[in-house]
Subunit: 381 residues, 2 copies
């Protein structure tokens, strides 16, 4: 199914995902220095490198990589490693923004359920993230955006949560497109349980992805760590509704650090659920978007997915040059006025008024009535 990584490398990476929490700089450095097989070996010996010894002390005896790999295969899934062709290379960019005090290293490997090629399906993708306690406005807008993106051939990436995430996934599936849920628990126990049926559908028509091996529980901090993967997998991130404090803000921060377009959907200023989105826009961190077309304006390839600026209705009056518009203002609607009166009203010469009036008649905005002129129905509009 997946090609590239040797069995030995895949086994080592599977084991590493269990004995160490992801995003560790120490582990990433160790793997970079000596490869995953040697890294695993060193961690399990008596003297692991000092900077990760504490993190693995309690777990390094817990090598059950073969059982984990057997489990994922039994679920119809697989472990995708950086050595595989299928690896989404955009994740490797995380290395460039990681700091010692804020490690955001790429995943060691990805546990995946689903048939799609993860690299291919995420090549044109947008993350839609936001509050779990979303308003009906928020879930409606998330659905509209996701449907619009999916309908244009884009993949919606999100976190599988209640609220905005769930709306995004569902609308993408409704548009007949694959969608990707990046989880903070094992792909065999996706969270929340209430999205059981949704996750089954995503596993069939899209992808369930996790950095943690089968069986792992969704610990609180794992959600924040997971958010860097959502930001890094997709071409851009849209925050639909987020309160002043919200996990979506972390995804937004990662997107910004990665120089991916960050977008936010406004809402009523009277809604606490839009405070986070408004803050992001107000500070210039996110660009305001109102539609899938505007999202693709920022994320899409130039010239392919450009949005038309919204326009109001155009009336005949709008097209008039200023000198005609000015004379038109002097023409009454309910009675006919002689040209000299119109010239005075409009503040122009009589000769200019007469010339303009004949052009306004031609445009259907004015008609003659006795010795005077008045507005037509089109002229009154």
């Amino acid at each position: 199914m997946t090609s590239g990584a040797s069995d030995e490398v895949r086994f080592a990476r599977a084991a590493l995902t269990r004995i160490c929490e992801p995003a560790s700089q120490g582990l990433a450095k160790l793997i970079a220095r000596c490869g995953p097989v040697e890294a695993l070996d060193r961690l399990c010996r008596d003297q692991p490198p000092k900077d990760i010894a504490g993190a693995v002390e309690g777990r390094r005896g817990d090598i059950r990589a073969q059982r984990d790999l057997d489990n994922i295969h039994a679920l119809g899934g697989r472990l995708v490693c950086p050595e595989d062709d299928e690896w989404p290379v955009q994740l490797d960019q995380l290395v460039t923004v990681s700091h010692e005090n804020d490690p955001v290293m790429p995943p060691v490997a990805l546990w995946i359920r689903g048939l799609e090629d993860v690299s291919a399906v995420c090549a044109r993708s947008v993350s839609i993230v936001g509050s779990r306690a979303a308003s009906s406005y928020g879930t409606h807008v998330a659905g509209e955006l996701a449907y619009g993106l999916a309908d244009r051939g884009w993949t919606v990436v999100s976190g599988g949560a209640y609220g905005i995430d769930g709306s995004g996934h569902r609308a993408a599936l409704a548009a007949g497109a694959p969608t990707v849920a990046v989880l903070a628990s094992g792909v065999d126990r996706p969270y929340p349980l209430g999205h059981h049926a949704l996750f089954d559908r995503i596993a069939t028509e899209g992808l369930l992805i996790s950095e943690w091996p089968p069986g792992c529980s969704p610990q609180r901090q794992r959600f924040l760590v997971r958010n860097r993967v959502i930001a890094a997998l997709s071409g851009g991130t849209v925050v639909v509704e987020a309160a002043a404090r919200s996990g979506a803000r972390m995804t937004a921060r990662r997107a910004t650090e990665l120089c991916r377009p960050l977008m936010a959907v406004p809402g009523p200023v009277t809604s606490a659920m839009s405070v986070g989105a408004h803050q992001l826009i107000r500070t210039g961190t996110a660009t305001l978007v109102t539609s899938a077309a505007e999202v693709l304006d920022l994320v899409g390839q130039i010239g392919v997915d450009m949005a038309e600026p919204p326009r109001g209705p155009i009336t005949a009056r709008d097209a008039l040059p200023p000198e005609l518009a000015q004379v038109l203002e002097g023409v009454p609607a309910r009675r006919a006025a002689p040209p000299d009166e119109i010239a005075v009203q409009a503040g122009v010469r009589l000769s200019d008024a007469l010339r303009a009036l004949s052009r306004l008649i031609g445009a259907g905005l004015v008609d003659e009535h006795g010795n005077g002129y008045r507005l037509t129905k089109a002229g009154r509009r």
Copy 2:
């Protein structure tokens, strides 16, 4: 009442406001070259300067300045001229942004009803503008903003129209502050008629201002011309609701040209009434604002009127350093766990776990139970 301009100058400026539409570059140049008295004289002679001859041809016989001045005095009003101490000098900045194809010259004079000094009352002022066909959301937000600004000692400037304008004026009056309505018709016939009682109150507690002499009707183009005065009088402009096509966009454009802060209030993306505001924010033309405090953040003097960034509730967990937060994740809520199990769950050394647990007990987030530890009520939050 007003001092500065001589009777002769005031008479000339009064006459000029009737025989020529405002914002004319030709007229402004003529006044700058030879003063208002001589300018009036030249316009009324047989050979007025070519560039304004057309504009005044039909009207130059219409000298009724004394009657207009008598009328405004009978209304308890006055004509304020650039020569007067009371003249709001910020209007003169319009000269700097005027072009031949888009003349936006300062007013020749201002016809005013109300007791306040126009310069003093507009020294700390914000314009609130928007759609006449505002939604109930829009009028609510306009009212909240205006009340908040007025309550902090700021004057609300607007155009007296239905919808956003009216809400802004009313809320400012409700806060006991003066408000300024800049009209597109004579101050004796403010438009719309349905705001008759509101205009009477503004004339008593604030100011009604017009560039056109008493008796003038609100012609369509006068609203657009008038908008430059709203933008130039105030320290900044807030667009509350505006459709894709809206007169408020013109005020917004003038504010930008004048380098005054332009702000816009977001709304539901499902509302056509917010399309204009969203466009202004999306393109970076306007800054998103959600409250009076945020408006004053941009318009107010630095350090005097700064807004606090909105914050969510802070829990005890939020204040924890990362090493304690990590161990806390390993502590179960419903049963007590021994320290070695907690260390494995959290992925830390046993010694580190024990040290962290004693600090977590001190913080009231964990308690001991038999030989194990579990979360307290505060720890579960």
